[in-house]
């Protein structure tokens, strides 16, 4: 069974302990308005087009079977509605202006890629499955099993929007989950991500029941996820979990916006969403005052 991988990134130092290889899967059921990785939202392969890198050679126009690439004297664009994400343009593009996102790989292939860096993981590093939503990838359980069989430290970054059976099946092979809590208010969660949080919270509880370590991760988006009530609820949620090590506060950055533009979507990056240092400190203090460890690394 193959899985669609957006990217395998090496020497990662922000996706779990130590030096890690992070596998980004394609596809996520959520549609967070601030999404940092919009290229991993769709399950299908997609082409990203970076206008600034295009030299106008026209190779992509000849290669494209659907007429999605347009190049005339006054017009250079990609017609997203016509693009089927086959990647023919990316294969002939000489400057990486066209880039395909989404490669089908079997679990053994992904494992082989991960193991090439095994010499560097030491006692702390390993593999991180991320996305997208890794727990929505077909075959992810097989991959997790293989990783564990090879003695890797396995971390899964999830937003929990997935089949509860997958969560239960994955848990025995995972050393730690980094679990995103988008918002604790159900209505706001739905507005901001397009999904109801009930399933997500049930999956979090299930992971905890199965005894796997978790870290809650909260993205601070100024005006959207920075209200005190949200953090008070986070503290309450933390108190219900036996195996949660604490909460990590992440700050919004607008860099997902340029990726959205390359996908032919509206640039969703917004400077005004960047939280202030005072907001971050305030949220951390609020959590600490309620006995919640705030994790920084």
């Amino acid at each position: 069974m193959s899985m669609r991988v957006a990217e395998i990134q090496r020497f990662c130092t922000h996706d779990g302990p130590g030096l890690r290889t992070t596998v980004f899967f394609k596809g996520c059921p959520l549609r967070c308005v601030w999404c940092h990785n919009p290229e991993t939202q769709k399950f299908a392969s997609e082409v990203m087009f970076y206008d600034a890198l295009c030299i106008g050679c026209g190779a992509c126009v000849s290669a494209c079977p659907t007429g999605a690439q347009v190049l005339t004297q006054n017009d250079r664009r990609r017609v997203v509605s016509l693009c089927e994400g086959c990647g023919a343009c990316a294969r002939v593009c000489l400057t990486e202006a066209c880039k395909i996102v989404g490669t089908d790989m079997r679990a053994e292939q992904i494992l082989a890629e991960v193991l090439t860096d095994a010499a560097f993981y030491g006692n702390t590093g390993g593999v991180t499955l991320s996305g997208g939503e890794p727990l929505c990838a077909d075959g992810v359980i097989e991959l997790l099993q293989l990783c564990k069989q090879h003695g890797l430290h396995v971390l899964v970054e999830t937003a929990g929007a997935c089949d509860p059976d997958t969560v239960s099946a994955a848990a025995p092979y995972v050393d730690e989950f980094y679990f995103d809590i988008k918002h604790t208010d159900a209505q706001k969660h739905k507005e901001l991500t397009g999904a109801d949080p009930t399933l997500i919270l049930r999956n979090l509880a299930q992971i905890d029941r199965l005894g796997v370590k978790t870290r809650l991760r909260c993205l601070l988006v100024n005006g959207l996820t920075t209200d005190d009530a949200h953090f008070a609820h986070i503290a309450e949620l933390y108190a219900t979990l036996k195996h949660c090590t604490g909460v990590q506060l992440l700050r919004y950055h607008p860099m997902g916006g340029s990726k959205a533009a390359a996908l032919g979507l509206a640039d969703s990056g917004r400077e005004e969403w960047i939280p202030t240092e005072a907001q971050i400190t305030h949220a951390a203090n609020l959590l600490l005052s309620r006995g919640v460890p705030v994790l920084t690394d």
């Binding site: 090496r10 130092t13 922000h14 000489l94």
Partner: protein, 715 residues
């Protein structure tokens, strides 16, 4: 809080352990106060020496040295805890700072690590007694001249020591007290050992020489551990004393350095850690103190190399990662296992190899026992011109890759053979007749005092006085050789887009009219440095072929010719004679340095680069093969960043690396330093085998550092 802030790429800043007066001393030294003083007196005139015309060269040298030590400025800095200063400006320029009629008389010596332990353990008095007691009955006249020169050089050191005794008598009683014993007598305490070591080091530099110090922890560690056990010093006190030595090592930093390849390159290398012959780790308190000092002060003038092995203490590895994270490229690492295997294969006796240090950059040598130099050769040019005839001559065609590689390997043998035999002709004129007598060379008695074998043999450092004579042929351009071969294989034989002859014709025209093919070669083909087995196989082949080419000369001659890989910064000057290359770059572009990938082609991250580099059998590159890794500070934050650096070093060793220098660079900081150099006087970067203050690099060198840091011109 301290009033002095030393630059760091790590946003958490540097720790403060040293007292404020030591930090003040460091800041003044790093900003060029003492370098400026040094340049005020470039040399000592020796026109008044009587009988000059009748003297032998060695007599002239020691007569000049006698004048030098009597007339050179004596400098004692406020706050210093070790005494002695190399105060003559010509030394900074690699010259013996004496002149007649305004002309400098001799160049000086560098690229070596001497044995300062001789002075620390024996003292001047012990050295004199040993040399005077030698059986010289078999010495000929030149050997006797050298013997006498050693004793007169000791006289000079004693005179210079006397001046510091006098200068410290009233105003600096704490310094005076130590100088009363050392370096005349063997050191008995840690403070005395540091003073004695520094005095010997400063004396050699006073004479213009640029020695390395080598395994300082092995030398000083026992003294410190004895003092700590006896309760006569503390780690804090010891740190202050040792820091003073590091700070004084910056006394050649100039306030207004002429721009070039950087000012901090006097090859004063220090080597830490490693194992002894029993396999035991030798890391000791001094190893930790050295790293703590550079962690705090960011001093890069002693480029430090740490010998890593399977049992390197975790705490030491962690401290090493912390130092690296601050940037400046102050610390590099050896995989000791690879180096020891290389030295064994070269035929060094087992009891010698565990002492290895280097020449000041990374070229491994047995310290205090080795004459060393190297021969840089551009093997990319050899491929492009001698084999493919891209620049001129009739362009050859080749039926397959084997034919190209055969022709290239044969040419490598010719180049290596010619280079080695030319050197032998220069040093050992009758070697072809089996007479291995070395030609007599310029006097080097200062160095000879600290090199085993010179006094015993009556021969100088350059004249086969040392047990080992090494001239290392260095392969330059190996990363580009790999990429060029990879591109030829892909374009001409796998994809069959064009013949080798057609490709070379395009290269001769500098890719003009074939820009798209150039882009294809640059972006779509497998490149060395990405863990790509096909490209890495070409690299491994080239390394092996070069080792094979040097093998006939590696041993068995009066000079050994063990191979190594380097460009240092020569990729800048070499671009003038290089043509366009098959992997898409045009004439004049700066290509790969040392054993690193071609700039812009390594896109798979640091671990992939290390894997590629380790794909060759680096034990065959006896004197070394350096890999440069540049990282952004943002990737190394927090505990994970330290773990990542540790993991990188562990992987480097596990995969059989040789030497790796990691620098942490923020492109924005470097760009700002270009605009406002006045604000970045002490910002250090790793250039190649040495560090330099970024603002002392000229435009081309700064651009090279920037591009290695990921800067894309025009962005």
């Amino acid at each position: 809080m301290s009033a002095y802030v030393f630059p760091s790429a790590y946003k958490g800043g540097r720790p403060v352990r040293l007292c404020e007066s030591t930090r003040h001393f460091a800041m003044e030294s790093l900003q060029g106060k003492y370098g400026a003083q040094t340049l005020e007196v470039p040399y000592i005139p020796v026109d008044d020496v009587l009988g000059w015309e009748r003297m032998s060269d060695h007599e002239r040298y020691t007569a000049a040295l006698d004048v030098l030590v009597r007339k050179c400025p004596v400098r004692i800095c406020e706050g210093e805890r070790v005494c002695g200063a190399a105060t003559l400006g010509a030394g900074v320029r690699h010259q013996v700072p004496v002149a007649r009629e305004g002309s400098i008389l001799w160049p000086s010596v560098s690229h070596l690590t001497v044995d300062f332990g001789i002075l620390v353990r024996e003292g001047i008095a012990g050295m004199r007694a040993r040399i005077e007691g030698m059986d010289t009955s078999s010495f000929d006249a030149p050997a006797m001249q050298r013997h006498d020169a050693l004793l007169r050089t000791l006289d000079a050191m004693q005179v210079w020591h006397g001046r510091y005794l006098e200068a410290t008598r009233d105003a600096y009683p704490h310094l005076h007290q130590t100088l009363l014993r050392v370096p005349m007598q063997p050191a008995e305490s840690f403070a005395e050992a540091v003073q004695s070591l520094w005095f010997g080091f400063a004396f050699l530099r006073l004479g213009g020489n640029w020695p390395g110090i080598g395994c300082i922890d092995r030398l000083l560690g026992p003294y410190l551990e004895r003092d700590l056990a006896a309760g006569v010093t503390t780690m804090d006190e010891a740190r202050e004393v040792l820091a003073s030595m590091f700070i004084k090592g910056c006394e050649w930093i100039e306030r207004d350095t002429p721009r070039g390849s950087g000012d901090a390159q006097h090859y004063q290398n220090i080597v830490l850690g490693g194992t002894d012959a029993s396999g035991a780790d030798v890391t000791n308190a001094v190893s930790y103190l050295c790293l703590e000092i550079v962690e705090e002060l960011g001093i890069s003038d002693f480029p430090i190399s740490v010998r890593l092995h399977d049992n390197t203490p975790k705490e030491f590895l962690r401290l090493l990662a912390r130092v690296m994270r601050h940037g400046g490229g102050v610390v590099a690492v050896y995989c000791e296992k690879t180096v020891l295997a290389a030295l064994r294969a070269q035929g060094y006796p087992a009891h010698e190899i565990y002492d290895f240090a280097n020449d000041g950059c990374w070229e491994v040598q047995i310290p205090g026992k080795t004459y060393f130099s190297y021969m840089p050769m551009d093997f990319l040019h050899v491929l492009l011109q001698d084999v493919l005839h891209v620049a001129e001559g009739e362009i050859a065609d080749f039926a397959d890759m084997d034919a190209i590689k055969f022709a290239y390997a044969e040419r490598m043998k010719q180049v290596a053979s010619h280079a080695c035999e030319s050197i032998l002709d220069g040093f050992v004129p009758a070697w072809r007749e089996g007479d291995y007598t070395f030609r007599l060379q310029m006097p080097t008695p200062m160095i000879d005092l600290f090199e085993h074998g010179c006094a015993e043999s009556g021969r100088g450092y350059l004249e086969s006085g040392t047990p080992y004579r090494v001239l290392s042929p260095h392969m330059g351009g190996v990363g580009d050789v790999a990429n060029a071969l990879s591109a030829i294989e892909q374009l001409c034989f796998m994809e069959k887009r064009l013949s080798v002859k057609q490709l070379c014709e395009i290269l001769r025209k500098d890719w003009q009219g074939e820009e798209q093919l150039a882009l294809y070669a640059k972006h779509k083909l497998p490149h060395y440095g990405n863990g790509d087995p096909a490209a890495d196989a070409h690299y491994a082949w080239a390394v092996n072929a070069f080792a094979d080419a040097c093998a006939p000369y590696a041993k068995g001659y009066p000079i050994m010719f063990p191979p190594g890989i380097s460009t240092f910064g020569r990729q800048i000057e070499w671009r003038a004679h290089r043509t366009a290359v098959p992997h898409g770059y045009r004439r004049g572009e700066i290509l790969a340095g040392n054993t690193s990938p071609t700039p812009g082609t390594d896109t798979a991250g640091a671990t992939a680069t290390v894997r590629s580099y380790c794909a060759a059998d680096l034990t065959r590159m006896t004197t070394g093969a350096a890999l440069d890794i540049k990282m952004h500070p943002g990737t190394l934050e927090g505990e994970n960043g330290l773990c990542a650096l540790e993991g990188l070093m562990q992987g480097f060793c596990a995969l059989g690396g040789y030497f790796m220098q990691v620098d942490v660079l923020d492109v924005q900081t470097l760009l700002d330093a270009r605009k406002h150099p006045e604000n970045y006087k002490t910002l250090s970067v790793r250039v190649s085998g040495w560090n330099a203050r970024f603002v002392t690099l000229d435009d081309q060198w700064q651009r090279m550092v920037l591009e290695r840091a990921g800067y894309v011109p025009g962005e």
